[in-house]
Amino acid sequence: MTTQRTSGRRKQAMAAAAVVAALLTTAACGGGKDSDGSKNGAAGFDAANNKVAQASLAKKGGTLRFGGAQDADSWDTTRGYYGFAWNFMRYYSRQLVTNKTEPGKEGAKLTPDLATGLAKVSDGGKTYTYTLRDGITWEDGKPITSKDIKYGIERVWAQDVLSGGPTYLKDFLDPDGKYQGPYKDKAADHLGLKAIDTPDDKTIVFHLPKANADFEEVLALTSASPVRQDQDTKSKYSLHPFSSGPYKFESYNPGKDLTLVRNTNWKQSSDPVRKAYPDKITIKFFSNANDLDQRLINGDIDLDINQTGMSPQGRTAALKQHKANLDNPVSGYIRYAVFPQSVKPFDNIHCRNAVIYGADHVSLQTARGGPVAGGDIGTNMLPPSVPGSEGQKYDPFELAGANKTGNAAKAKEELKACGQPNGFKTTIAVRNNKPVEVATAQSLQASLKKIGITADIDQYDGSQTTGIIGSPSNVKKKGYGVIIMGWGPDFPTVQGFGLPLWDSKYILQSGNNNYALIKDKAIDGLFNDYVNTLDEAKKTQIATQINHKVMEGGYYLPFVFEKFINWRGDRLANVYTTDAYSGQYDFVNLGLKSAK
């Protein structure tokens, strides 16, 4: 795994070098914008992908300008679920532990933040104890206490008021839902949650009813940030979260703009993680993605807050003229088709395999945007950013190898084994608001036609995902034999990625994500082993095993290990992508080359 990683990096470095050379030649003859670009010193193609670009050029001061086509679902640390929002929240919130501010894989590891060190784990993985650092303060200068952290975590229980965020903390600490949440708490201090002890202001102890190997990962999510009771404005908290980090809210107009300014009460000495280079951070929201891309290219804004990659229009322009400003990271998402076993004939593994073999994987990759903007052909169901993943090395169906463009002969064999030698009819369900997904559906439809499978494409309202494909009874009723979807990890472990997709306990009547309706005792058992394992190497091994089991079941046809094209403005320094946030730039330590 490591060697593959290195060789991948070496290839990227070579590619980057080649691109820089090409760029210099074009700049020499072309002049114009390109020569401007190099004067401003863009670091080069993929210069910040899994490595740090221009760290030494970062200066204190200046205004860092984000732009976005989509506002966060909520800036309340308890409620946000967008990856970019979690990334941005580190500017104004701190956690007991957080992800390292380092590029690539290293960034997925944890480091102490408010706590003096990582957890002291005892009682067979059921008790986690932290001691708080000195000098940690709120934006009004008052110290952050262990009770503030407990209160912030308790807010996750108040799903009736503060819905939307991840609920892992609740699932791990109080799986039976005994606690009512701080707003219904009868205790005078509203700190009635039994699973967390705060013996003094500097100590916090977590008692898990059942060990979970990823508990500390969950504490690193921004939903475990402290919140001070007297500053909790409940559902209005998202308009002005009370800062524990180096920046605080100055103004926020939802859907329009957001401005952060320095929190003068934050002390660098108390924070080993955050560098806090710029003086001011702004986000401006645009209604049109093409407009946003144009402004990025013009240099009016420095980077895209959404971090989902440029749209086809801007991407083409940028790749042609400003390649040195681009990075091409792996997003951590896998794009795939999944076969609900409730829809005949997909209850039969051979019919599922027939589709996997029959599909033209290069065509699907092209539909996703090609090897650069779409990603490498997906060969299994564990994203490269998750420990235990083997990337393209594990390819049981030879999707990136011999069967790259589809293997009709093999598919026909499987159809025969399934008892459908002449093929069958089915329906592909795809979100109507994602042109790229519709394109992949069409590609799949075209290649399935060749092996006698007639697929009808049903484009459903993309905003209604939970009720349409998230409802197994509706899936069965509509006969959705193939569902086209994508999934990324909430936190980079097999549990954070695969539990809702593959564990039989997660088959829900609404909002289901186990679309294939996998009920495999072996997989459930492996997840159970995983949460009880504290040894990292063992955990990685189990992750690999789970991935193999899922692939052997033929439930999924992976399309790509998604990559995207991300814009890095000329003014930015100390830029790097991190696996903690699915290949996004790590916002919290971005700097500017000039304080102007």
Partner: protein
């Protein structure tokens, strides 16, 4: 040549009745020309309309022969040609959207399907929906319009209010809502079949008041004419008068409105496909091609130009032809 051919037609062909009522029988005998013939003479002189008509004919032939023509050039509208696509940008490698000897109008970005073949097949959908929805509208509009005009009273009020209501109804929104709740299979149709059927019905249904109003107006003025009185005094039944006396005299305005309605329907179909509620992929449709082309207007403008031009030419041809037909059938029209 005149007499033996003409005499039975004067008796039997009611299509000449209107002209006959206005022009005296003597003049008719002297000219020896039916209304259709007069109109045709006029139309022949209108070069613009004739060109439109020819284009329309060619389009119909192309649509009917789409499978044959695409076979001749050796292209399948659904076949992917990804080897001709630049993997980095997803656009065709060749210039002008990949136009070449094999691909006469270039290829689609991302999947490389032949645009020429898809335009031909797209013509099938456009014309099918355009014509059939016009037929639905004409049948409904004529029957209801004639009833309203002839019977008057509460029948007229009821039908007229329904027409007012339908004209005010947001039909695009309605069809978008309707299509999303439509089952995948119905009446033995599935997928694209259902969508086409629904589009024809809905566009036709919302189009009939336009014809209905005209027919009603014409009927109102015609029912007081002497020949109607004459038929009535001879004891003719209502329905005889309606369909044997009045209807033949309404043929001219109906034809005119039909030719004007078809291009509007084609545009509506394109708009619906553009909005994603038209035919289902992989069936080709011009509106859908336009909608896909939005993402590539910069990098592959030809992809937008080709279906745009196809829609433009079709609608223009129908409009020119329709104008010509109107002038020919109704020289008194205000133009």
């Amino acid at each position: 040549m005149t007499a033996p051919l003409h005499e039975p037609t004067a008796e039997a062909a009611p299509s000449a009745a209107e002209e006959a009522a206005v022009v005296s029988a003597d003049a008719k005998a002297v000219q020896g020309r039916s209304l259709g013939r007069i109109a045709w003479e006029r139309l022949k002189r209108d070069k613009l309309a004739l060109t439109g008509g020819v284009v329309v004919l060619v389009l119909i032939v192309i649509a009917l022969l789409a499978p044959v023509i695409t076979n001749l050039v050796g292209q399948d509208p659904d076949a992917y040609h990804e080897n001709l696509i630049d993997p980095l940008f997803g656009t065709p490698t060749g210039s002008l959207g990949g136009i070449s000897g094999d691909h006469l109008l270039g290829i689609e970005p991302v999947n490389g399907r032949d645009i020429f073949a898809r335009i031909l097949y797209g013509a099938q959908i456009s014309l099918l929906v355009g014509f059939l929805s016009a037929v639905v509208a004409v049948i409904l509009g004529t029957v209801l319009g004639i009833l309203a005009g002839f019977f008057g009273g509460w029948v007229d009020s009821a039908i007229s209010r329904v027409m007012d209501g339908l004209l005010a109804f947001p039909q695009l929104l309605f069809i978008i809502a309707l299509v999303s709740v439509m089952p995948n299979e119905m009446l033995g149709l599935s997928g694209t079949g259902v969508r086409v059927f629904v589009m024809i019905l809905v566009i036709g249904f919302f189009g009939w008041p336009y014809i209905g109003r005209v027919v009603r107006g014409q009927t109102l003025s015609l029912r007081e004419r002497e020949y109607v009185e004459a038929a009535r005094s001879l004891g003719a039944g209502r329905f005889y008068i309606l369909f044997k006396e009045l209807l033949p005299n309404l043929v001219a305005p109906i034809i005119v409105y039909t030719t004007m309605m078809i291009p509007t329907n084609i545009l509506t179909e394109a708009a619906l496909s553009f909005l994603g509620v038209g035919v289902k992929p992989p069936t080709a449709s011009w509106g859908q091609m336009l909608s896909n082309a939005i993402d590539y207007y910069d990098s592959d403008p030809m992809y937008m130009v080709v279906p745009g031009v196809a829609i433009f030419i079709t609608v223009l041809a129908f409009n020119l032809f329709g104008d010509g037909v109107r002038d020919a059938l109704d020289p008194k029209g205000s133009r």
